[in-house]
Amino acid sequence: MKLHLRIWRQKDGSSPGQFGEYDLDGVRDEMSFLEMLDVLNEQLIDGGEEPVAFDSDCREGVCGMCSLVINGKAHGPLAGTTTCQLYMRHFNEGDVVTIEPWRSSAFPVLRDLIVDRSAFDRIMQAGGYVTLHSGPKPEPNSIPIEPEVAEQALDAATCIGCGACVAACPNGSAMLYTAAKVSHLGLLPQGQPERYGRVKKMVDQMDQEGFGACRNYAECEAQCPKEISINFISQMNRDYLKATLSEPVDRRSKMSSQ
């Protein structure tokens, strides 16, 4: 199969970028999309040209390192699939394939198709944890968890932090990511003591990072490689409103009589 590739090339964050045009022959159905790019890169390197820089690591769809907007869609045309798990059998002879980086002001381009997603880590650092040391813990079966609840928490926790939700969102919003992280711990008994403080801190950090506001398009859900539900966004909204409006901020001050 022969493809025409239009790939975003950008030297670094401070240089302007433009599309590079490449014709690639010998693409086979059994190649993954990234293997197709590997083949292109080998050809470029053999010819002394700079290869296309793109992120990838596990290539099993779980590390969340790979990205790429392929023909206008995050992780390409297939639902529930990361770019590394996208196979060339879904493309046809002669296709023009446009490949771009995640576009979001909160994810600045570092080079070509690589973006800086450290904003996500900072959201996690803002409160995405249960505060603890590694000393002895209570016996886990002493807190039974309904399997439905554990599974729902896992549905949220299955987020691989790739950033496709932000890339897919025309508003550059990170609600799905943040909601998945907030809901994972918010659903479990272990996450209860810090539940409202956590949602507040994580959402506020999300704001600080400059992500856009959710307009409930649900594009994030449709393009999420793990198909995480916008139900979690609703849950986060609820927790956030509760945290801001009705959770006591001052439980222990003195009160006066009148």
Partner: protein, 246 residues
């Protein structure tokens, strides 16, 4: 209050404000539409159109506990505040969104974002323009060729909607309203965190029914007048009514 201002500082808080004000405005349009349907119920025994009586009632309700027009003004103030807040907050959020995604894809494609959702801004701006126009026409009586008589709601409608461009304009505006409500009504429940898989169908059904119902309810008035299916207004209408329906 401190908490509310703190909430408004945040993006999620602003979204909640848009949702709550949207809910208020939604409640208003539903009430307005139901009120409008009074044009179809004819006249009372004295020959006064029901719609005119209803418009009068809006001013006298609550009397004598509260003065004439008091509750109407309360409602108006709430509605104006809601509208201003709704529009202003949306402007703030849109600016944030443009900053968050200043560069678009060469060929952006959508997977599931619905057309009404994507056209929210367009339908919203249309509606805003329409509201100004509508108030000028039927509240202040500044637009429209036919003589405008305050309080003679039925007659005013009758005259206005015999002109095709007014009818067309109202039908287009109501289409915009239908689009806006179609996404907005579901969206506000999602934003307020009330949506979940158990209720999702109900909220979406409500949004769909609202959008269809509002369109049919509102658009039927100008259309039926235009098609000549409505009786002409009774002559010698009562003159104690002073204003049209807001």
């Amino acid at each position: 209050m401190q908490r509310l201002t703190a909430l408004y500082q945040t993006t999620l808080g602003k979204k909640a404000v848009v949702a709550v004000t949207g809910l208020i405005l939604y409640g208003f349009v539903v009430g307005h539409m139901l009120g409008n349907l009074k044009v179809f119920t004819g006249n009372d025994a004295a020959g006064e159109p029901h719609i005119d009586i209803y418009a009068h009632f809006l001013r006298t309700m609550g009397e004598p506990m509260v003065p004439y027009s008091f509750l109407l003004w309360v409602a108006r103030i709430i509605l104006i505040a809601a509208l201003v807040l709704h529009v202003y907050t949306v402007v703030l959020l849109s600016r944030r969104n443009h900053a968050a995604r200043h560069e678009n894809y060469a060929d952006p494609r959508y997977s599931q974002a619905s057309a009404p959702a994507r056209w929210m801004m367009v339908s919203g701006v249309l509606l805003l323009a329409f509201i100004v126009f509508h108030l000028l026409q039927f509240t202040f009586g500044k637009i429209g060729g036919a003589p405008f008589v305050e309080g003679a709601v039925y007659a005013n409608l009758y005259h206005a909607f015999h002109q095709w461009f007014f009818v067309g304009l109202y039908v287009i505006a109501m289409a915009a309203l239908a689009l806006h409500v179609n996404h907005g009504v579901w969206s506000l429940f999602q934003t307020l965190g009330l949506d979940n898989p158990d209720r999702n169908r109900i909220f979406r059904l409500l949004a769909t029914l609202s959008s269809v119902g509002l369109f049919v309810g509102f658009a039927s008035v100008p259309l039926l007048f235009f098609l000549g299916l409505m009786p002409s207004p009774p002559t010698g209408e009562a003159v104690h009514l002073t204003e049209g329906v807001m």
